[in-house]
Amino acid sequence: MISFVLRRALLVIPAFIGVTLLTFALVHLIPGDPVLMLAGERGISVERHAELMTQLGLDQPLWLQYATYLGNAIQGNLGKSIVTHRPVTEEFLTLFPATLELSFCAITFAILLGIPAGVLAAVKRGTILDHGVMVVSLTGYSMPIFWWGLLLIMLVSGILGWTPVSGRMDPTIWMDSVTGFMLIDSLLTKEPGAFSSAIRHLILPSLVVGTIPLAVIARMTRSAMLEVLGEDYVRTARAKGVSPLKVVMVHALRNALIPVITVIGLQTGVLLAGAILTETIFAWPGVGKWLVESIGRRDYPAVQGGILLIATVVILVNLLVDVLYGVVNPRIRYRR
């Protein structure tokens, strides 16, 4: 098992280099001049422009800029934001807990609802329940996130007034940021109502971010379960006198989880992409909103660094998924 984990971990290195190359290339393909953006409407002299270009290292050949960038990135230095002059890593780490909290709640919601829904649809295949689950999940999958978010805000926050419209915490409650995770911080603080406020702020954004993963997980679980339920070993379990519930939840689900776990890993990428839009809609102070703003400001180091850090998170989550694979599926664990 240890050698299996190590071999998987080694694969992270080429993936990481690939991501740096991609982010670097993508950002430099965006049209627009960062120095002109910095200068704003006042304009800037040609000499000052050249001076700033040199200062920021933007006058050097692309390959050299990339080499410098990669060298610094490996040392954990992703440069300073052109706009705020604070280190990109620092800005990212300040905002990341908010995104992580949102993503975690969203994927938890998607898994807790998606797997049972998929199992139920598979076991009751061909019934109204099955068709219902599939229609709802297809709708969820097809829904544009920003529109779905706005719709929910209008209905649940606006008309029904059940949840707050935006932000992470009621502005009347003030508390220290210890971990950056509101759910934990609000439990640590003595402020009354802080925890419930944190939860109420989380509900809608989590639902919105989790919608697409939920739909994908439900559909994947259903098709994997349908395949597994027809397997000989499921019949063997029934022939042993195992109860129908245990046949489905133990013998079948354990096997069906293998493709589902893959999908969950892949969905973390979708999740963070969804978080970018959702954070903007809900004024959620996370890395997604920060990235969108940085792109608007042509803040090259911030965008590059932000995407790189998000990609690193996705790579690490997928590493975790690979390891989970081995735990669930002994055939992978023992393959030499």
Partner: protein, 327 residues
């Protein structure tokens, strides 16, 4: 009283006015400690009928019978929970494909002790000791170290031994063996068959042996039921049926044995195929393939009629000992 009584067992697939009958009015009995062979071509309904006995036919299959009793208990009146108490303990089953019949995600030990846990309880250590004992009984070397292995680490023969260990875990009185050796190498086939017959004799367990291999039946079974297209066409004691088959289909099956074609240019075959869902004949189901077919056979279905010595045959003109149709 017979251990297993099956009367007019029918299994249908697909609803509506014209469902497909995979098994049609099958009747047989099985005494305690007896080995009953069920033979037939692929698609003759022998597997489906045994799954119906186990209660393993799942939706959309529909099982009906005028009587289906195990040790005098009517299986059709039992609740699903009561039925499950029988399956895996008193009635156990092994399957054709050992490699796919074990769950790839669980260890051999887990899969054997699971049956013990459901039906017999006991402590974890007791169950583990019993599992080691069972693996030893089915001839697996170094059984204690095998508990932690996963199915993909076992060969086909070893997997089938594990399946057998699982099946006999709760000392069943009836073992249903659905083509237990078909998927195995020829050398392993003999070993597994020997193992099954030894266990059967030692434990006095009744066995329903489903196979398309008449040689296996001749060696292992006391009585035999010949199935064709979902129906029983002939049943009786093994010596009687092998020496003097009364149904033309049984005779053709026996003639198709390679051993009976020694010296001949070609092996004997039965022309045509088993009728499918949409081309079932109106009369006798064998009529299109029968060498002795008469007009009556094409319009009327023959009933299963009792003969001497508990034998039964479904033919208007059963063959006499010389192989000539009687009037």
């Amino acid at each position: 009283m017979a251990l297993l009584e099956i009367e007019n067992l029918t299994v249908e697939f697909g609803g509506g006015s014209n469902p497909f009958r995979a098994v049609e009015e099958v009747s047989y009995t099985l005494e305690k400690g007896e080995v009953l062979g069920i033979v037939g071509e692929s698609g003759s309904g022998k597997s489906v009928s045994s799954l119906a006995v186990m209660g393993l036919v799942s939706f959309p299959g529909k099982v009906t019978a005028s009587r289906m009793a195990f040790d005098g208990v009517d299986l059709q009146t039992l609740s699903p929970r009561q039925r499950r108490k029988l399956t895996g303990s008193d009635v156990a089953m092994i399957f054709q494909e050992p490699m796919t019949s074990l769950n790839p995600c669980f260890t051999v030990g887990y899969q054997i002790t699971e049956a013990l846990k459901i039906h017999q309880g006991g402590t974890r250590a007791e169950r583990k000791a019993r599992a080691v004992d069972l693996l030893g009984q089915v001839g697996i070397p170094d059984p204690a170290s095998r508990l932690g292995t996963f199915p993909h680490q076992l060969s086909g023969g070893m997997s089938q031994r594990v399946m057998i260990a699982m099946a006999i875990a709760c000392d069943p009185r009836l073992l249903v063996a659905d083509e237990p050796t078909t998927a195995l190498d020829v050398t392993i086939q003999a070993q597994i068959m020997d193992l099954l017959l030894t266990l059967q004799r030692e434990r006095g367990m009744a066995m329903l042996l489903i196979t398309h291999d008449l040689a296996v039946v001749a060696e292992a079974a006391h009585r035999v039921v010949v199935m064709y297209a979902g129906q029983v066409v002939e049943s009786g004691s093994v010596p009687a049926i092998f020496d003097h088959p009364r149904h033309p289909y049984t005779k053709a099956l026996l003639a198709a044995l390679p051993e009976r074609a020694i010296g001949a240019e070609r092996l004997n075959t039965i022309p045509g195929v088993v009728p499918g869902a949409h081309d079932r004949p109106k009369g006798c189901l064998l009529a299109p393939r029968c060498p002795h077919v008469q007009d009556r056979c094409r319009t009327e279905r023959p009933p299963l009629e009792d003969g001497p010595d508990q034998s039964r045959v479904r033919c208007f003109y059963p063959l006499d000992p010389d192989g000539v149709p009687t009037a």
